[in-house]
Symmetry: C2
Subunit: 661 residues, 2 copies
């Protein structure tokens, strides 16, 4: 039997070799944490490399994602189908699943994409929440697993750390264990350059249990994990390590953090570690021990499978984990809206839709970053998710937008739950990095962003989104919806629930008139844009609007028609969905003719940046290209020229200019 | 002499009355913290309402900006020229300087715009850094003041709190005092809904001094402030208060947080407080006492002025505080570049420019969020700013992008220093909310954002910006520069230093060939775009590119010319500056003709979203509309089709389609 140290050295060797081959990467962290990771993966982590998707597996998150070779080595050694040694040899090369940072869409066994610091730990908090919730729903027999995290100093210094551990401490997520790679080194050098902090005391202040151990002694780490697991609080294990441990001349310095060690130092490290094999070779005894570790969980998995089969809930549980949703709520709910069209803010319309959704889909877990009453995210009957009731389906996230969004990613990636969470649209700036990481991973979450324009009113420019809609639409993988009334809001919710990845709903604070009063045979909002009103007089103008401005566009169209100028109104709740429509549909809606023939006008209470895509250069773009102001919403719409009379004037002036040009 | 409580009740009355008149706003916080604020403003804060710009005044930051009526009341009562009582009566109405949240561009005496939670405190950390730095430069005689903050639970729960107080604790900013409004209420209800935390223990773990007091007892608050001021660490004073204190039926509940109390409750509160005056009336004795408090500092100010006049540094000091900069560094530096054009990454070119800038402009304070060697932000001779040497001009901000950006805002708003700070462009998502708040305020800072595209290479999609450039350009008030070579980098730095507000430099990791090899009589980059190369054959194509893609565009142009197709190359380092050019200049560069006559092609290694503004709908947009990948940069440029041969092919195909169409 090889020693734990020898097993760990296999990780060290692979990390050195892969970084050397790529001449790029981060050897320091895998080498420093190899012993600790070996303890975790050979003695504690409940997993079965043969079934990476086993729902009751422990989750492992490498929050310090730059140390990606640590997890690639672990997955390879424990017997996952990928990465192969060939994959590892191609570390950081095009086409290799061994990317610079671990990506869950590249390899099974990677629970979440990490790299942007702090977010792995915050997602792990979400995973631990999902576990407790599903445990409350399905019992210990089916759901009873832990979440382990390896985090570095970066993860602990980032602001999101405060939000994430605050949430974990508040919800007393006792099955969450964070192993802190305390190596006293960051990229700039010693942590003393930028930090004087008693990290353990801070975690304790947040309701965490803390332990210290020698992170280079696998046995001591193992004891610490035992202690962590026994505690009823989330645990932080301070693993005292040396970055780049094993590289005799460079270890303990920032030089090992993010660059290849160089041939000489790698040779010296091999000697130091007693590892005399060529690059990318693993001795048989070591390989065998590691594979046995990777199969440790197979018995537990088989037992779990038997319990599931005997539970009488197997089908339901599988559907739940697979994320299958019942979309049957939509049609009857639309019927009630058509029967009795309400004049409500779309944030209220969202709440109304959520009443139907939450009743039909038990997987939803709502929440808000301390704006519950404003975001309208809590429907009747949703109990709070608390330490006394993890089965609750509503989370008071506190004033933690970033932590909320990252936790939602983790919940979605855990599976079995469908999280949505609210804040003001302007505060998407706080959570943006998590919105993006969710988009990259296709994490199925819904960001409910209310108060989506100057329509927010008196709170003023700090709270009024201007560039946010367009800057979020520019993000790959995210679908942004801005519905115009209650019907569109329901349709947008339905579209969001049907998406594979994240969606964002931008919702009004102010009441909006019902515009969609006829039943339709399809979800028009899901097409991204559709003709809400056709020109009556010969068509000279197409008004393209979103959300609260569609009602205004209808007023403009009416004014124009009165003057014999035919105007279509195109409602465009989702530009990304529209862009994905067949060319014929897009051309039919927005014909490719000069603006002299048909003037295209965009109307949105935000930046005009980017609207040239739909108006062309010679179209007219109505919006706000500066910061907002503090006043009642109605005064602001007047002030910024976003009223039907003022826009009509501008359209007429533009038509005149083009005529005389 | 009115009691302190009676002085505080004047604040309470104004807060109630203004919110009542607006029927919107936040009475709870001003009413809860009125006594604490009274203690601070009547006994401790060094200021002179007659000279709001006195450089050695104490800074006061209302981080809990929603309680804006607190500061409006204080400014009015202490005798600032504005707000007048009329202004206060028009609280939250269009045109009133009493906006929903305090805006420093509306009223003197407001040191920074607040509202987005946590950022006021983080900016205050920056102010306290600026104070210590200028103290080191000019001595106690000229610079010796404190920074006081009132913060609420939101400010303490936000992630940025961790970054800000970590920085403050690390730099031992003893002249920073934070008064925490501990009222146990957030919007959603009791803080118990979302927080179980020993806040004081957390602050102590971060190197802070902490004190508790009854926040409703002005005398006790005063004693606590004395104690805070005496300590050598930054101090947190826990002011135990009751939200909406004085409103007998609603106090202590979330109902007082963000809505008018209602006529009945206001009447009841008047009775409770013994305040029997009509709305917006202040008794003479109270008014007099407050005005005396506002003039307390006049003697100190006069003495300071005498010290300044006698110091022999008066002119230099005034220039420094006024932000006057010597731009003389540019011309000789450009000469050296023209004489010997370097092939360097623009991040390196930025470092080279900074060598000249930092030597010429003593006000600069550089830094990086733990990427010093990658951002190239530390020039030779810049000493670290540390507790042992506040005179240093380089800050190791740690892994705290948001905290860095917010602190930079505060430093700039303090005056006397010009901060710049580095991180990777992709991490602008972490600091975006502070970038925006700086843009709103016109805070003169420079965000140095390197690794600005897939050119970052192996670190992969989590680290590769795609939508970032466009989403930052969409932000009002921010100038985004993406230079193409060393000359443009110098020009962009010069433009950034000439701006009134924030600038962001997007810089390459990879080396770029020199493109600007002739001396010019003006700063071409400051115009936003200019013709780098004119068509030789009859012009059929205009290639518009930025940064690292300009070199590629030059290759495409050469290929096209070989085939007899004339092609201009327009380098566009700053779209916002270009948009602000006279129409004639813009038309000359990008003539308004159909793409059939002259095909316009944009080339940028990021999203194509928004480039229709320059190419028109029928132009060609070359970019990346999905997430990146992990591989060496050169492979990624090939993979994503961003090479001269591949783009040439696409341009030729497009020209052919248009010909045959």
């Amino acid at each position: 039997m090889p020693t734990q140290r020898r097993l760990a050295n296999a990780i060290r060797a692979l990390a050195m070799d892969a970084v050397e081959a790529a001449n790029s990467g981060h050897p320091g962290m895998p080498m420093g944490m190899a012993d600790a990771a070996t303890a975790l993966f050979t003695k504690h982590l409940k997993f079965d490399a043969a079934d990476p998707h086993w729902p009751d597996r422990d989750r492992f998150v490498l929050s310090a994602g730059h140390g990606s070779m640590l997890i690639y080595a672990l997955l390879h050694l424990t017997g996952y189908a990928r990465p192969t040694m060939e994959d590892i040899k191609n570390f950081r090369q095009l086409g290799s699943p061994c990317a610079g940072h671990p990506e869950n869409f590249e390899l099974e066994g990677i629970e979440t994409t990490t790299g942007p610091l702090g977010q792995g730990l915050a997602a792990a908090v979400g995973m631990a929440i999902a576990e407790r919730h599903l445990n409350a729903v399905y019992g210990d027999e089916l759901v009873d697993h832990r979440t382990f995290v390896i985090a570095g100093d970066g993860c602990l210094m980032e602001g999101i750390n405060h939000e994430a551990i605050g949430l974990a401490g508040h919800l007393r997520l006792s099955k969450l264990v964070v192993m802190w790679d305390d190596n006293k080194i960051t990229i700039d050098g010693s942590t003393d350059l930028s930090r004087k902090e008693d990290v353990l005391a801070r975690y304790e202040a947040m309701g965490w249990h803390t332990i210290e151990c020698d992170g280079l002694d696998s046995g001591k780490v193992s004891k610490a994990i035992d202690e962590a697991v026994a505690d009823t609080r989330p645990s932080l294990i301070r693993c005292k390590t040396i970055i780049g441990y094993g590289a005799p001349n460079k270890q303990g310095t920032a030089a090992t953090h993010g660059a290849a060690l160089g041939a000489d130092e790698v040779a010296a490290a091999r000697k130091e570690l007693g590892w005399d094999l060529p690059p990318f070779e693993i001795p048989d005894d070591v390989a065998k021990s590691w594979r046995e570790a990777g199969a440790r969980g197979s018995k537990a998995r088989a037992e779990w499978q038997r319990r599931l089969d005997a539970s009488g809930k197997a089908d339901e549980f599988k559907h739940r984990i697979a994320g299958k949703l019942d979309h049957g709520w939509l049609a009857p709910y639309l019927d009630t809206l058509i029967a009795n069209p309400p004049k409500v803010a779309t944030r209220k319309a969202s709440e109304m839709a959520l009443e139907a959704i939450n009743a039909a889909i038990p997987a939803t877990i709502g929440g808000s970053a301390d704006l519950t009453g404003s975001n309208n995210t809590k429907t009747k009957g949703l109990e709070p998710l608390t330490t006394d009731n993890y089965g609750g389906r509503y989370i008071y996230y506190g004033i933690r937008e970033f932590g909320m969004a990252a936790a939602m990613n983790g919940m979605a990636l855990h599976g079995g739950v469908l999280p949505y969470g609210g804040t003001f649209l302007v505060f998407s700036d706080y959570s943006r990095a998590a919105i993006r990481l969710g988009a990259l991973q296709g994490a199925k979450v819904v960001h409910v962003m209310t108060h989506d324009s100057i329509g927010l009113g008196e709170d003023g420019p700090t709270h009024q989104p201007i560039e946010h809609l367009q800057s979020l639409r520019a993000m790959p993988g995210l679908m942004v919806y801005r519905p115009a009334d209650a019907v569109e809001t329901a349709e947008c919710w339905a579209a969001a629930l049907a998406n594979d990845g994240p969606s964002l709903l931008a919702l009004s604070r102010q009441n909006l008139s019902p515009l969609r009063t006829r039943a339709e045979s399809e979800n028009l909002s899901a097409k991204g844009a559709y003709r809400l009103k056709s020109a009556e007089a010969p068509r000279k103008v197409i008004l393209i609007a979103t959300g609260s401005e569609v009602e205004i566009a209808m007023g403009v169209a009416a004014n124009l028609e009165k003057q014999g100028i035919g105007a279509d109104v195109v409602s465009m709740p989702c530009t990304e969905a529209f862009d994905a429509q067949p060319a014929g549909y897009r051309e039919e809606l927005l014909p490719d003719v000069s603006n002299r023939e048909i003037l295209r006008v965009s109307i949105e209470a935000g930046t005009t940046f980017g609207w040239e895509r739909y108006t062309g250069l010679h179209g007219l773009r109505i919006g706000i290209d500066r910061f907002g102001a503090s006043a009642p919403a109605v005064d602001l719409y007047e002030h910024f020229g976003l009223t039907a009379p003022k826009i009509t004037e501008r359209v007429l002036a533009h038509l005149k200019i083009r005529e005389t040009a």
